[in-house]
Symmetry: C2
Subunit: 353 residues, 2 copies
């Protein structure tokens, strides 16, 4: 039995408490300053309001003030905030983590320096820690196709825990493995984390076709637009592979759970796909952002804004070629410049030839 402390009580962090608590571990959810009502609800009724489910009896919920007490002595500390909270989480964890603890992050995304250098979010957290402490922490992450609610209701889910030390990975994976939560491990930390971050970029585009059909009044026609979405998916997967290479990961990682699998599930639905649907209907993205989906967390759009913006300085510096990442560049023009939805097909797949 291990003690697992989770910073953040969102739906994914909470969903993971199902397999881990069923394995007899001592699981503690710590709400962020945004999670006060969630923690209240779990403490009073056991129900996570956003997930719509009662958490297991072995799971304890805590308000943020108890964080130090809860993280103290934990074997595994999870970072369960979303990408918008990663700097805040870095500040918190800098004060909470103790030497020898294993960190397990579920936050996906990137940050970029002005020169376009991309950084994975665990490395952003690391930058907040005293370097000596950072060296004594084991850095691990969960990737792969995993819709939180499906995991929480015990539907088969296959994921990859990635990290830098096989013994640590085996230890953590065994805390979570059940007959419905199938966990592989990999030392390709950079590859899996890059795949997880960039798949969100392409999920936004998965909504275009449905929006275009709605605009044309053809959403119930016999023939829809799977060909369109499949081509976008294929180009997205090609670019995801390139990003993995760019970040020093193993390109084979793009073909499994962390690549096509994760893209597949992210493209199947959710808020980013919905936002892409509005763009498909012809709505300028700024209107989606400022009116139709105002205040809604859009991880995919955030990823496009960070990664898409970085492509320009990376190209100017010659790190990447101007012909690379045509879909990501196009999505950035849609999100940042309200570009119309004219898919640059001829630039895909290495250029039309």
């Amino acid at each position: 039995m291990a003690k697992i402390a989770v910073l953040g009580a969102g739906i994914m962090a909470t969903a993971l408490s199902f397999p881990s608590s069923e394995n007899g571990n001592d699981v503690h959810l710590i709400g962020t300053f945004l999670d006060r009502e969630i923690i209240d609800s779990i403490q009073k009724t056991g129900v996570h309001p956003d997930l719509g489910l009662k958490v297991n009896d072995g799971v304890t919920a805590h308000q943020l003030e108890e964080a130090a007490e809860v993280v103290h002595g934990a074997d595994v500390v999870m970072c369960g905030v979303n990408s918008f909270g990663i700097e805040w989480a870095g500040e918190q964890l800098a004060n909470l983590l103790e030497p020898g603890q294993k960190l397990l992050t579920i936050t996906k995304g990137m940050r970029a320096d002005d020169d376009g250098t991309l950084k994975l979010l665990p490395n952003v957290i690391k930058s907040y820690l005293d370097p000596e402490l950072a060296e004594q922490i084991s850095w691990n992450a969960i990737t792969g196709p995993s819709i939180a609610g499906e995991l929480a209701v015990h539907h088969d889910t296959c994921v990859v825990f990635c990290g830098h030390d096989q013994d640590d990975l085996d230890f953590i994976a065994n805390l979570f493995r059940t007959d419905y939560y199938h966990v592989w491990t990999s030392l390709d930390f950079d590859g899996y984390e890059t795949g997880a971050a960039t798949k969100n970029v392409y999920a936004f585009a998965a909504g275009f076709a449905d929006g275009m059909l709605r605009k044309a009044g053809k959403e119930n026609d016999r023939y829809v637009m799977y060909n369109y979405s499949a081509a976008v998916f294929a180009q997205g997967q090609r670019e995801l592979t390139s990003f993995i290479k760019l970040m020093g990961g193993n390109p084979d990682t793009a073909t499994g759970l962390g690549g096509v699998g994760d893209m597949y599930v992210t493209s199947a639905g959710g808020r980013n796909v919905k936002a892409g649907g509005f763009v498909g209907e012809g709505v300028p993205f700024s209107e989606v952002r400022d009116r139709l989906m105002k205040g809604v967390t859009l991880e995919g759009v955030a990823a496009i804004n960070v990664i898409g913006a970085a492509l320009k300085p990376l190209t100017e510096r010659g790190v990447i070629g101007p012909e690379e990442y045509p879909l990501c560049r196009f999505l950035y023009s849609v999100v940042a410049e309200d570009a119309p939805l004219e898919m640059p097909w001829d630039k895909f797949f290495g250029g039309l030839k």
Copy 2:
């Protein structure tokens, strides 16, 4: 302007007459012995009954008796039959083809020798031709995510024409390219044809999750089973990649239109997915085959029967390892032995570790 003769008047063969005729080519559809009513209908009303659409004015339909006259002098001859008709098509084409003609096949699938050696369908056709004639034919094929009806109604479609001679590919591609039919070319004939054949294997499995949800009365629940389908898709894509390597193709081909793209569109729906859905509901496959979908053409099941059966002798001969292709082996046990739907998750992704 070129003369294009198409053997077979099914929905895909006919859909391709839209871009080719709009480019001013002289396009002729030749019905097989199964297509008599289709040809009658097109001759009388212009409408392809299965496609539900009127073909373009520049397209001429012919009964099989006119085949020799129509194929004579054609620049491009297309083989548009389905995989069940490939031996018949080989016999026909052996008598119809003329030296210098460019053959363009759209039939997907494989045949296997008793020792498990797999053969692509264009090579099956070739085996029917006089060797001297076969040498004087240019062998090309169309692959990639393309639902026939979507192409026919001019929805954006991205495909790869593969072959052995770049000049021939450029010539043929230019006959078909339009502003909605985007054609790339590749000399990785074996890779693209293998991807096209094996993706049908895995599309069958794409129906399982929906069937399981229906059986459990959970098809309208808040949380469905995308995680399950994504993991199956990812393993399928890994195995498709292995098949491409096994057949001497370029594994990179598995990551674009001919790999993930084609699998994505094939998994989105169709008869194979429907058949997989029944299995997901718990129906033994033999009952699906002999009762629920009796007489329905199931290309995916046919591919599983051929390729899945070949894995045994290939393994015995040491050509492949016993741990390879666990999903294809499992699907074969479902289709050939009525095995229950117990997904061998632990064998996926190189084995659980």
